[in-house]
Symmetry: C2
Subunit: 703 residues, 2 copies
C-alpha cells in the first residue's frame, strides 16, 4: 500500500485481511492480549490467525509462533498489545516481515508529551518505509461485523453474535466506540465496521470515512471527532458522502473551553474553532450532534428508513402527561407537530373523546362506550395518524400500561403500513422489557430516553432541511493593494473595503483643524469627527469623537474643545489629524467581518452590530466565498432577522444590498485566504429597502 494513496480499496483490503497475527496472544483473560485473542476466535474470523507467543506451543488449541519472523508468510494484519517501550521493535519486525498493516493499542505516545510524540513519528516512518500502515497508537482496534473481524478486547464483545446493521462508525475514542457498540446491541443495532483511530499517527478518521463512503454495505456514517486532521479532505468527503446518499453524523468534543482542553489531553487533538466547524458542517450537511447516544438513535432510524426526509412529527402516547411533555420538548427543539387534515381528524374523533383527537394523541383518551379493544384502537390510531399527509414521522412515547408489549407491537404494526419512520421512546424500566423485545423483533428503532429521541429527531429535521448551496458567482478578480500588512487604521481598512466594492461612508483625514474646517463642506454636514492619533486606541474615552456636527462653526468649536480634552486626558498623545466623515443614518446596525480559521480557512462572520454583538453572541459564521443565497440564509439565522423584514410597522430593510456586501466580504476573505487576517466592519448601517447600507467603522489586521 502506498501511504500517499490511501484509497478506499486499500482500506477495504486492510479490514478484510487474509491473515492476522496477534502479538502478545495468551489465554490469560487478565491480560489484554488474552482477551483480544479470545474475542478474535470467539467471533470466528474466517482468515488465518497467528498467535505470537514465545513460551507456549499452542493457545486455545491453535499453534503459536515465537515471533513475527517465525511466521510462514507475511501477515496482512498484525495487532499488538505490548508495553510501550517494545512497540518500536515490534513494528520494525512486522514491517521487515512484510506485514501490510498494524494496529497499535498501546498508549503513551503523542498523548503523553513531546518524547512520546517523537517516538510515534519514528514508528510511523519505520512502518511506512516498508509500505506498512498503522492504526493507532492509543486506540481500541477494530470491530467489523461485516467481515466477522474482531480486533478489539472490549468486554462489549462478550455477545454471542455480532449484529450487522448498515452503520459505520469511526471514533477518536476507543471507549466510546465500544460503549456505543454495547448500547447499540441492546436496541438490536449493530455496525458494518467500527474503527478506533486513537492518535491517528498514520491512518486517520478521514481515511476510514472515505472507506465507509465506498463500502456498499454501509448506508449511514457515524463519527466521534476530537480534532480534524485534514479539513480540506473533510469537506471533500462530506461532498462525496452526499453524492453517495449516505448521511454523515458527527459528535465533536471541544465545543466549550473545558471540553476542548479535555479533548487535547486525550488524543492531543486541537479542537479548533467550533463555530467554524459548525459553519462547514452546516454547509456540507454533516450532522453535528451533542450526545453519542442520540447519534446512535438517529443512525438506527436512518438505517431503518433510508433516504427519508422528515419535518413534522406525530406523537402517539400511552400517557397524556407523556404527550404533553413530549410536545413541550419537540416544540422547544423546533420540531413542528403535524396538524391533521380533516379526514384524519374525523376518523380519530370516532375513536377518541371530545377534544382528544389532536396531536399528540393520548391513547388513554379513547372512547370506552363501544368496548373497542385498546390494542386494536392503538393499531388503527397509528395507521390513521401516519397516513395523514402532514405527518412525516411517528414518535411513540410509551409508559407503563396494561399489556404493554402487545400494545407496543400493535402500534408498530399500525404505523408500518405508511412506510413512514417510527421511533419509540420506552420510558419504563424492566416493565417494558417484553415490549422492547417486540420492537427488536419488528426491527423498529427505539430508545429509553425522550431527550435522546428529541435530539435525534431535531438532527434528522436539520439534515432533511438542508439544500445545496448555489455556487458563488465569480467575484471581482480582486487585486489586493501591494504591501498590505499589519494593523490597518480606519482609513486604510475602509480603503480596502472600498476596493472590494463594499460601500463606506464618505470621509477624509485632515492634518489640522484649519484644513478640516476648510474641507468640511465637500464632505457635507452633519459630520462625524474622530481624532487620529497612534497613541489613542479608544477614541471616545478621551473625548476624541464628535457626533452630529451641524456646520462649520460647530466644527471649529468642537475641534478646539476636543484638543483641550485630549490635552487634559491624554497629554502624551500626538494628534496627527482629524477624520471627518459623513454621518450616516440606518435602521439597523450589523457587524460584518472576515477572518481566517486555522483549520477551515477564509470565513465571513455576521452578527448583531454595535455593542450587542458580544452581549447576545448573535453571530453566524460562513465559509468564504459564498453565494447570495447563502448570505440570505445566514441573515435569516440571526436573532435580529425579523427586523430585516419590516418588524412592527418599521420599514423592510435593504436585504439585497446587505447580501451583496456579505458576498463581497466573502470574495475579499477568499483573496486573503493564504494570510492570517481579521477584518471587522462594526457597524454596517442598514437602511430601508432600496436605500442600501454603508460601513461607518472598520478595522483590519492582515498577517
Amino acid at each position: 500500500m502506498d501511504p500517499a494513496k490511501t484509497s478506499a480499496d486499500n482500506l477495504a483490503a486492510l479490514l478484510s485481511p487474509r491473515s492476522v497475527a496477534v502479538i502478545g496472544a495468551s489465554e490469560d483473560q487478565g491480560k489484554f492480549g488474552g482477551r483480544l485473542f479470545r474475542m478474535l476466535l470467539k467471533h470466528q474470523y474466517g482468515g488465518t490467525v497467528y498467535p505470537i507467543n514465545p513460551v507456549r506451543e499452542t493457545l486455545f488449541g491453535l499453534k503459536t509462533f515465537p515471533s513475527i519472523d517465525a511466521l510462514p508468510e507475511a501477515p496482512d494484519m498484525v495487532i499488538m498489545a505490548v508495553p510501550q517501550p517494545k512497540v518500536k521493535e515490534q513494528v520494525a519486525a512486522c514491517a521487515a516481515r512484510g506485514a501490510r498493516a498494524g494496529i497499535i493499542i498501546t498508549s503513551k505516545f503523542s498523548d503523553a508529551g513531546a518524547a512520546g510524540a517523537a517516538l510515534e513519528r519514528e514508528i510511523v516512518q519505520i512502518a511506512n518505509a516498508r509500505g506498512m500502515r498503522l492504526i493507532g497508537p492509543n486506540c481500541l482496534g477494530v470491530i467489523s461485523p461485516a467481515n466477522r473481524l474482531v480486533l478489539c478486547s472490549s468486554p462489549a464483545l462478550e455477545v454471542d453474535t455480532l449484529i450487522e446493521s448498515p452503520i459505520g462508525f469511526v471514533s477518536q475514542s476507543g471507549a466510546l466506540m465500544a460503549t456505543l457498540f454495547d448500547r447499540a446491541y441492546d436496541i438490536g443495532i449493530g455496525f458494518t465496521h467500527c474503527v478506533s483511530v486513537g492518535n491517528q499517527a498514520d491512518l486517520e478518521l478521514c481515511d476510514f470515512v472515505e472507506f465507509l463512503i465506498a463500502d456498499p454495505r454501509t448506508r449511514v456514517i457515524c463519527t466521534y471527532i476530537e480534532g480534524i486532521k485534514s479539513p480540506a479532505r473533510f469537506i471533500e468527503l462530506a461532498r462525496r458522502a452526499r453524492a453517495a446518499g449516505k448521511p454523515w453524523l458527527a459528535v465533536k468534543a471541544g465545543k466549550t473551553a473545558d471540553g476542548s482542553r479535555a479533548a487535547f489531553s486525550h488524543t492531543a487533538s486541537l479542537a479548533g474553532d467550533h463555530a467554524s466547524l459548525e459553519a462547514v458542517c452546516r454547509r456540507e450537511n454533516v450532522v453535528l450532534m451533542d450526545d453519542p447516544a442520540a447519534m446512535l438513535v438517529l443512525a438506527a432510524a436512518m438505517a431503518r428508513y433510508p433516504a427519508r426526509q422528515v419535518e413534522r412529527a406525530v406523537i402517539v402516547t400511552t400517557s397524556g402527561g407523556g404527550g404533553a411533555l413530549s410536545a413541550d420538548r419537540l416544540s422547544e427543539a423546533g420540531i413542528p407537530l403535524a396538524r391533521f387534515g380533516q379526514a384524519t381528524q374525523q376518523a380519530l374523533a370516532a375513536l377518541y373523546s371530545e377534544g382528544q383527537a389532536g396531536n399528540p394523541i393520548d391513547l388513554g383518551g379513547r372512547r370506552h362506550e363501544d368496548g373497542a379493544d385498546a390494542a386494536e384502537v392503538g393499531e388503527r390510531t397509528a395507521a390513521l395518524a401516519l397516513d395523514d399527509a402532514q405527518a412525516d414521522l411517528g414518535l411513540f412515547v410509551m409508559t407503563t400500561a396494561p399489556a404493554l408489549a402487545d400494545a407496543t407491537a400493535r402500534l408498530a404494526q399500525g404505523g408500518a403500513a405508511s412506510g413512514k419512520p417510527m421511533l419509540f421512546v420506552m420510558q419504563p424500566g424492566k416493565a417494558a422489557a417484553a415490549a422492547r423485545a417486540r420492537l427488536l423483533e419488528a426491527g423498529v428503532p427505539f430508545t429509553n430516553s425522550l431527550g435522546e429521541a428529541v435530539e435525534a429527531l431535531a438532527a434528522w429535521c436539520r439534515w432533511s432541511a438542508w439544500r445545496p448551496e448555489s455556487v458563488a458567482q465569480p467575484g471581482v478578480d480582486m487585486v489586493l493593494p501591494a504591501g498590505l500588512a499589519g494593523t490597518l487604521d480606519e482609513a486604510a481598512a475602509k480603503a480596502l473595503l472600498r476596493s472590494a466594492g463594499i460601500p463606506v461612508n464618505r470621509g477624509q483625514v485632515f492634518a489640522d483643524a484649519e484644513a478640516a474646517v476648510a474641507g468640511s463642506a465637500a464632505i457635507g454636514f452633519p459630520l462625524v469627527v474622530k481624532v487620529v492619533s497612534p497613541e489613542i486606541v479608544h477614541k471616545s474615552e478621551v473625548g476624541g469623537v464628535l457626533l452630529g456636527v451641524a456646520d462649520a462653526q460647530a466644527l471649529r468649536a468642537g475641534l478646539q474643545a476636543m484638543r483641550e480634552r485630549i490635552a487634559a486626558l491624554a497629554p502624551q498623545a500626538s494628534i496627527t489629524g482629524f477624520s471627518l466623515q459623513a454621518q450616516e443614518e440606518g435602521e439597523l446596525e450589523l457587524l460584518v467581518g472576515a477572518r481566517r480559521d486555522a483549520q477551515f480557512g477564509a470565513q465571513v462572520v455576521l452578527g448583531s452590530g454595535g455593542i450587542l454583538v458580544e452581549l447576545l453572541r448573535d453571530i453566524v459564521v460562513l465559509p468564504a466565498p459564498l453565494s447570495r443565497e447563502s448570505a440570505l440564509a445566514a441573515l435569516a439565522r440571526l436573532r435580529v432577522a425579523p427586523l430585516l423584514q419590516g418588524w412592527r410597522g418599521r420599514p423592510a430593510l435593504d436585504v439585497e444590498a446587505l447580501a451583496a456586501v456579505i458576498v463581497r466580504m466573502g470574495w475579499l476573505a477568499h483573496a486573503l485566504r493564504e494570510r492570517d487576517f481579521e477584518i471587522e466592519v462594526n457597524p454596517l448601517k442598514v437602511r430601508a429597502a432600496g436605500a442600501g447600507c454603508v460601513a461607518v467603522d472598520a478595522r483590519a489586521r492582515i498577517g
Copy 2:
C-alpha cells in the same frame, strides 16, 4: 374528615387505612379490578381487605362481599374500578356506608367534556356531604411503600419487594407515576408514597404535598404538574417545604403552546403562564425541571446526600472522549468544573501522565510505569479528587472498560470517604450490568444517560444557589386614583406612574399648535412632540411624532407639517391635542411593566427595551411586591445585564435608581392585585450612575 380542613394528619390516616374495600375485585388478570386486587394482596397490606364482588364467594381465598352495604364495618378506604356510568351510585353507597375515602380510577369525567365535568362535581358533593374524600377520578391510585399499601394496578408493581426511599411523589399523570416507579426500581430507588391525583376533583396535588412535608419518612418531594389549582397554597407550601428542609422538585407540562394544549386535553388543567410559574418557583426554590427521568435522578441523589449544596463538579471517567463530552455538557449547562488546589494537582501528577492530572480526570491517562493496579489508582483518584476543597460533587462517567464492575465499585469506595455526593453515568448497555449491581449494593446513585445527569446536576446547582429574598420594604401606602379603569392614554398612564413615585419625563398636552408653542419654553428644548388623537394608535406611522425639536420656530413649522401629513394619511382622524415632552437621553432602554397573572397575581416584568424586547425574549418576571435585592438579582439575569456594569468603556449605569423604579412598580402592581391589569413602560431610559432613569413612553390597561 372535614373537607374544609384537609390536614396532613387526615391524609396520613387516609394513606394508612385500617381497611380497604375493592369494588370490582376479581381474579381475572385481564380486568382492572383483578390486577388491582392481586397487587394489593401481593404486597401484603397489613390492614383488612374487603373484596366486593356480587357473584363470587371468595377471591384468592379471601371472603368476598356482594356490596359495600354488606361490609361488617365502614371501610376507611374504597377503591373502585367500575364503568363510568356506575361511579356515581357506588360513591353514594360508599358515602352512605361511612367510608372515609375513595379512589376513583375511572376516567371520562372533566377530562371528557362539560357533561363529565358536571357529573364529577356532583359526585364530589355526594361524597363530601358525608365527610368522604376522593382521589381522582381519572387517576391510577396510590403506591405507598412506607405503608406497604398498593392501590394501583400498574404492571410496574410486578416486583417482589417494594423499595422505600425517602422520596414522595405526587403526579397529575398516573402513567408517569408508574413509569417513574418502574424506572426507579432499576436504579435501586423507591418511594415513601406515590399518589396519582388525576382530575383533582376533590383532593389535589397541594393536599398531598402538604402531607409529604409533614411526613417524617419523606425527605425529598417530587411532583408532576399540569395545572396548579391553588396558587396561593402552592406558594405557602413551598415555604413550609423549605422550612422543613425538604427539596421540592417539579416537572411542569405546558411550557410551550403545544404542550399546554396537550396538558389541557389530558386532565382539563389550564397550564397557566409558564413565565409566572417560573418566577414563583425561582423565588420559592421549587426546582423546575424538564425531564421526569432527570427529576428522579436528582431526587435519588438528594435523598442519598441530604441537605448537600453543590456548585463545582469533578468529572472522573474511564474514557477521555467521555470526559471531553461531559465537560462540554456541564459547561453549556453552566456547571463549573472544580479547579484543583496545588496539593491535589501534585498528588494526581504522581499517578497520571503529563498534562492528564486536570479535571476531567481520564482514568486511562494513568502512568503505567509503576505497574499500579488500575482499580487501585481509580480508588485513590476518586478519594483525592473529592477531597479537594474546590470539589462539591463527583460525576463519574463510565464507559465499557476491563473489569468495569470492580473499577466502578472501587471508584465509589474511593469517593465515599469525602462524604461528598457522587453520581455515576453508566453509558454502556448490558456490559455495565454487573457494575450497576455494585452501585446498587453500595447505594450510590446512577443513571444511564449523561443528559439526565447534567439536567439533574444543573437543577441541584440552582437549588443550592438559592438565597431567601429579603422582605420587601413597606411601600408607599399607595392610594390609587379614583375611577381608574379602562385603557389609559400615555398622559394618564404617566400620571399613574408618577403617583407611584416612578420618574417620567416632563410634559404637557396642549389643545392646539398655538398653545403648544406658547407653553413649550416651560418644558424646555429639545422637545419630543406626539400627536394626541383617539383615532391614531400608531403615531409614527402617520408622521405624528417629532424628535429633537430644537426651538419654538422649529416646533411651529413641525406642527404645521405634522397636521398636513396626518390630514393626508389619516383624513378621518380628529386631532385633540399635541403632547410636548422633554427629550431624554439615556445609555440603555429597558422595558418595565406589571400585570396580573390569572394564577399567581401581581407580577413585575423586566426586559430589554425598545424593539428588542420581543425579538430577544429577554424578559424576566418577578412576583410583586419585591425587594431591592430581588430587583437587582432580576436585572442580573437580563441578557443586557453587562451593559449595566459599564461594558467596554461605557459608563456604569444607575442600577440603584433602576432598582427603585422596579420596587415601586412592584408596589403599584400590588395595589392593583385584585384587578386585571397591564402596565408597560417602554422605554425606560437608564442613565449613568447617579443620573437616574426616566420613563418616556407608557401605556396601561386597568380592568
